[in-house]
């Protein structure tokens, strides 16, 4: 009799663990390449990691440009890829504000204000995210579309390229999912 109960409990436990949203995890899709939105995403990501959650970020479309390392050069790109490369921001410190950008004046003002108010910069937030083992995936298709190569991306401890299924598998397990 007690054997049956134990078995039953084990079965329920296994079922519970495979239920969607059972894991203490945040999966966030970061699509926007705007400075303010990436700041919000990184604050939530590091905050969630501090709360003891596993954190997975999936950078897609315009956000992929924010992961470029301005110091890295790659060769062998075709004309369209070169154009994308030139027109999109080269890294997280070249992003625009989604509002009040004013040809860069708004963004510099915001950076100055953040420094004055001791708000962590994107550089600091990425460093902390790395320390807290926040995982960053880059959408393979976006990189391919814009002609970005893995070699021009930032050095980050947990950086990987993946497709939509990887993101969805994480999202399904996560108790929290965000889209920025």
């Amino acid at each position: 009799m007690s054997m049956d109960v134990d078995k039953e409990i084990a079965g329920i436990k296994a079922k519970m663990e495979s239920l969607p949203g059972a894991e203490n995890k945040l999966t966030m899709v970061v699509l926007s390449g705007d400075m303010d939105k990436l700041l919000a995403a990184m604050i939530m990501a590091t905050g969630a990691a501090a709360m003891g959650m596993k954190v997975v970020l999936f950078f897609t479309f315009w956000a992929t440009a924010a992961l470029r390392d301005p110091a890295k050069r790659v060769t062998g790109k075709n004309l369209i890829s070169k154009m994308f490369g030139m027109m999109l921001p080269k890294g997280r410190n070249k992003l625009k504000l989604s509002q009040m950008h004013m040809a860069g004046m708004g963004a510099s003002m915001m950076k100055g204000l953040m420094k004055k108010k001791n708000v962590a910069s994107l550089d600091q937030l990425f460093e902390v995210a790395g320390q807290l083992a926040v995982k960053i995936y880059i959408c393979e298709m976006s990189m391919d579309l814009m002609g970005f190569k893995k070699e021009e991306m930032i050095d980050y401890p947990e950086l990987e390229i993946c497709g939509v299924a990887t993101m969805l598998a994480h999202a399904k397990e996560s108790s929290v999912q965000f889209f920025i």
Partner: protein
């Protein structure tokens, strides 16, 4: 309020969200279970963030003291 001894004081003055929470999460594991840390912060968001962090991570906030221009939070490692 029961008596307790602070083993370490952490100076997070001037830091803005989310850094006070990030920092405490990195430090809490370095003290023993049952020990108490004192956090100094000037971030008003910490007043609600520390209890929220403690609730989620299973730690305890023993006391919060508000002084002019300074907030003191006493955090006990529970697990």
């Amino acid at each position: 309020m029961a008596e307790y001894t602070v083993v370490k004081t952490l100076d997070y003055k001037g830091l803005a969200c989310p850094m006070p929470i990030v920092k405490i999460s990195q430090v809490i594991g370095s003290v023993a279970v049952g020990e108490v840390l004192e956090v100094l912060t000037t971030d008003p968001g910490s007043l609600s963030d520390f209890p929220a962090w403690a609730k989620t991570t299973g730690q305890a906030i023993l006391e919060t003291k508000q002084e002019p221009g300074l907030i003191r939070i006493f955090v006990k490692r529970q697990k």
